[in-house]
């Protein structure tokens, strides 16, 4: 940290002015980042007539939740007009098992690769890690054929499999890097006492893994909930996740364009991850920086 207060040479008036300017600039940037959220919320609360007559930044004169109700219960996704709620539940049914399985496997992998090292453990880790960097376009075609052969194309099960397989490298990375810093003596002492591989994992390692479990769960949940590529490639009709449904609603060419419904749907899609971010921002940022090598 090198700040004006400590290291600036100006004093008095000029200093106060500089501080004022600094805050002004920061506030302007905040406005820029908040503007789309503001527009989303206000537009979703307006009626269509008000949207046509008013301006992008005007507050709704009459607040109405009709667009939210319509988005949730009636909006048309393809030929199905029963709202985005079906797809919300699709995403939930996809995200929960995929997050839990990939986190569990990641924890076990990380534990095995650091505390019960075998010959070649490092090479195996490096090979797993490679999966984080691969652009997923390169696996799309084989995956769609494999899912077809397995009979789980266009199903939530198929998407769970895909997200587990391609989430593994991240969860393994998180847990491996966390367990590396835990002293080996802890495990050695327990081994001498006669505890086995799984006993040590349950009794000693898992109880101290709280923070990294949170990081992994949040990272995986955000990735899986926000995914569009896999959802669009491997699902269709009413098995699609919410992001695919949102894109469908917005890009429907039939009928009148309902901007308020679009915005309400977008907010509904964004809310779960936003909530997670607001409630556990610290862990979200940790995941971002730990997994950041991947993008």
């Amino acid at each position: 940290m090198a700040d004006i207060q400590t290291y600036g040479q100006n004093s008095g008036m000029k200093h106060t002015l500089l501080r004022g300017l600094l805050y002004l600039v920061l506030i302007l940037f905040s406005v820029y980042y908040l503007f789309p959220l503001f527009v989303m919320i206000t537009t979703s609360l307006k009626s269509l007539t008000e949207i046509r007559e008013g301006s992008l930044i005007s507050l709704p004169r009459v607040v109405t939740f009709d667009a939210w109700d319509y988005a949730w219960n009636q909006a048309c996704v393809g030929v199905e007009c029963s709202g985005i709620k079906t797809f919300f539940w699709n995403s939930v049914k996809m995200a929960i098992p995929a997050v839990l399985i990939s986190t569990m496997l990641g924890a076990l992998n990380g534990y095995a690769l650091t505390k019960f090292r075998f010959r070649g453990a490092n090479i195996i880790f490096a090979m797993l890690l490679f999966g984080c960097f691969v652009p997923f376009q390169v696996v799309l075609l084989p995956m769609s054929q494999t899912l077809g052969r397995l009979g789980i194309a266009n199903s939530t099960t198929g998407l769970v499999l895909v997200h587990v397989v391609y989430g593994l490298c991240f969860t393994t990375l998180f847990f491996r890097n966390y367990y590396v810093s835990i002293p080996d003596e802890l495990v050695k002492a327990a081994t001498i006492d006669g505890a086995g591989f799984f006993t040590i994992f349950w009794r000693i390692i898992l109880p101290i893994s709280g923070p990294i479990i949170v990081v992994s769960v949040i990272w995986q949940f955000t990735q899986i909930w926000n995914d569009f590529l896999f959802g669009a490639s491997f699902s269709s009709g009413d098995s699609a996740p919410m992001t695919v449904a949102l894109n469908n609603i917005v890009n429907t060419t039939t009928g009148v364009k309902q901007y308020n419904v679009d915005m309400a749907s977008a907010l509904l899609t964004g809310l779960p991850t936003l909530l997670v971010y607001i409630l556990a921002g610290k862990y979200f940022v940790r995941g971002l920086t730990a997994g950041s090598v991947k993008g």
Partner: protein, 302 residues
């Protein structure tokens, strides 16, 4: 009786000894098949005559030739250069600026950080949807400016095939710049305070401290940020789909959307596979040297 129980206990001991390998094996097998196997599979398809259905007869470099003869692919590559270049440069600039501004003992720093970073939690589809609404020429920003009295204001980039790709830059910068800020801020906090104090004692001004000492000392973070952003740029797909749909026409196509269109809409599996291999090669060209230098540096330090 005795023999069988001893083989059993031998088996158990062996199992215990190998549990670690057994636990990792399924993930490793999945990785071998779903990552390495699939890459080879795609590579093979790119050498085949596949069009609508995958066929596996050798066609040499035919698909790559066809790919590079397509104007649409050249548009996608050009767009990637424009988009990637601007996206990286603007994100670095904004991220660095915001980090330095936030590093001035700001009151409510936590709140501001939260505001700058929240777009990163959103899906690119949500981001695309909202920017599409803001930038639409009919009722969005343009109308807002007209209402504010700027009657000649014109902003039709979203539907203008020469400028559509720049709207993708606008939305992508909004989403990712806060993340770059977080990376830089963490690095700024790690700079050795004694060096800064010493420079200050020598009479260096604040801008000189920043440009002469602090920014050079966080150079590795610039490299990491560039790699992360470049990687993001090459993989960009959702945002284009939600914002412009690759249009008007295919004027805002990126390699990722090109690959997807060829695979799932145009029934050109061979070309699609070839373009995916080109994307893989691009990402590897960025990542491999970076990881290599990182790992080597790590060994040196450790």
């Amino acid at each position: 009786m005795g023999a069988s129980s001893s083989t059993e206990s031998n088996l158990m001991a062996g199992l215990q000894r190998n549990l670690s390998k057994i636990v990792v094996a399924p993930s490793f097998a999945a990785s071998l098949f779903f990552v390495y196997g699939f890459i080879l599979w795609t590579a093979w398809m790119a050498f085949s005559k596949s069009r609508m259905m995958p066929v596996y007869d050798w066609a040499g470099l035919r698909q790559y030739e066809r790919l590079w003869q397509m104007e649409r692919w050249h548009v996608a590559i050009e767009n990637l250069l424009i988009f990637g270049g601007l996206f990286i440069v603007i994100c670095l600039f904004l991220g660095c600026l915001l980090a330095v501004l936030l590093d001035q003992r700001i009151r409510a720093e936590g709140v501001l950080r939260t505001i700058f970073l929240y777009p990163m939690a959103l899906s690119f589809i949500v981001t695309g949807t909202v920017w599409k609404w803001i930038l639409n020429p009919g009722l969005g920003l343009e109308k807002m400016m007209h209402d504010l009295g700027w009657a000649s204001f014109k902003f039709d980039w979203l539907v203008n095939s020469d400028f559509a790709i720049y709207t993708v830059v606008i939305a992508a910068v909004w989403q990712a710049s806060g993340f770059v800020m977080a990376m830089f801020l963490a690095a700024l906090r790690g700079v050795d305070q004694d060096i800064i104090r010493a420079a200050y004692m020598d009479g260096a001004s604040l801008p000189r401290i920043y440009f002469g000492i602090i920014i050079p000392s966080i150079r590795p973070v610039f490299l990491s940020a560039i790699v992360v952003l470049a990687h993001l740029a090459v993989k960009s797909f959702d945002l284009v789909i939600a914002l412009t749909g690759g249009g008007p026409g295919y004027s805002s196509d990126l390699p990722a959307t090109f690959m997807y269109t060829m695979a799932f809409q145009r029934n050109q599996l061979g070309i699609s596979a070839a373009s995916a291999m080109m994307m893989l090669a691009t990402v590897m060209a960025i990542i491999v040297p970076y990881l290599y230098s990182e790992l080597r540096g790590g060994k040196k330090n450790g």
